[in-house]
Symmetry: C2
Subunit: 187 residues, 2 copies
Amino acid sequence: MTRTVFEKSDVIPLVTEVFRELGYNGASLSKITARTHLSKGSLYYFFPGGKDQMVDEILTHIDQWFVKNIFEPLEENEPREAIEHMWREIDAYFQSGQRICLIGAFALDGTRDRFATVIRQYFVRWIEALSAALVQTGISKETADQVSEETVAGIQGGLVVSRALNDDSFFERTLARLTQRLSTSLS
Amino acid sequence: MTRTVFEKSDVIPLVTEVFRELGYNGASLSKITARTHLSKGSLYYFFPGGKDQMVDEILTHIDQWFVKNIFEPLEENEPREAIEHMWREIDAYFQSGQRICLIGAFALDGTRDRFATVIRQYFVRWIEALSAALVQTGISKETADQVSEETVAGIQGGLVVSRALNDDSFFERTLARLTQRLSTSLS
DNA sequence: GTCTATACAGTGATAGAC
DNA sequence: GTCTATCACTGTATAGAC
């Protein structure tokens, strides 16, 4: 009889995937226990506040990942390099379109209002960080804002349609088009 | 004591808005009864198959609307005119971003697998109809396909981010950018 | 075509043993 | 930090009166 002992840092990624696949309401406690192999007791040990606390921590966790791996590099590093880095990270993170953006999905859901601040901040910071990097390369603030909005929305749209078609290549093509548009606006 | 009597054609739009706001799992029968002022009994009279039948008919209803108002015009009318017509209809349909695309939202949800065929077909036909119209204007099939994919994904992304930011103007700007891109590729 | 009453499974949450 | 047992409640669905 094996007995696995977890810490919270192990649990969050597990629970995240359940919400990503099933959405807020679809991810019932029994579904979560089934897929994580953690009992309700254990789940409530880690998250006394229940599902709301789970989602709160999940969103914070995702946000932190993006801050560290995408936003801060855009804000602090050499801009052209940081932008190339962003494309590689995004493709890897969304697993070429197989993985959706939980924050984007929650934005469409009735879930939005409950977590409005985190959801909003995530997109605001992404767009602003990208725009600031573009300005650094010498293009105008106006163009930079436009291109940034187009890029971030384009990624989200690529995820939606890629999943609707059940075709990863759609996301890949979307990423390729957006990358090219962005580098065109740089030169 | 007023007593309202409905037919199915009255009921579908009402129920649609509940699913649009709350998602498949969020739209419980009690929420639906509360917002439509129809009892469970009446709901099951119209949809004996329960929620699944509701969603089936809702998606078909939405699809038919798009076929009639967007896809067929693109396929049959003068292409430039049909494309301009599409932009106007899309802006009105999504109420400048206040209304989400239910089919897109379901694509992100665990709901996708249950209604995979309708969801897929909707996007396939939209992209193909738009591409065909573009080819009619004389541009190459390759470019037309690219621009069509970019446009349809862009609209979806605009809806996601607009709702995440709780800012209708984001959707309006997205539509404006996409319109311009599209007309640029025409000339 | 409307409704209420009812059945019964699944839900989120808690208590307490190990 | 793990688990099972149990709670009140909400979920979908059905039956039958009007």
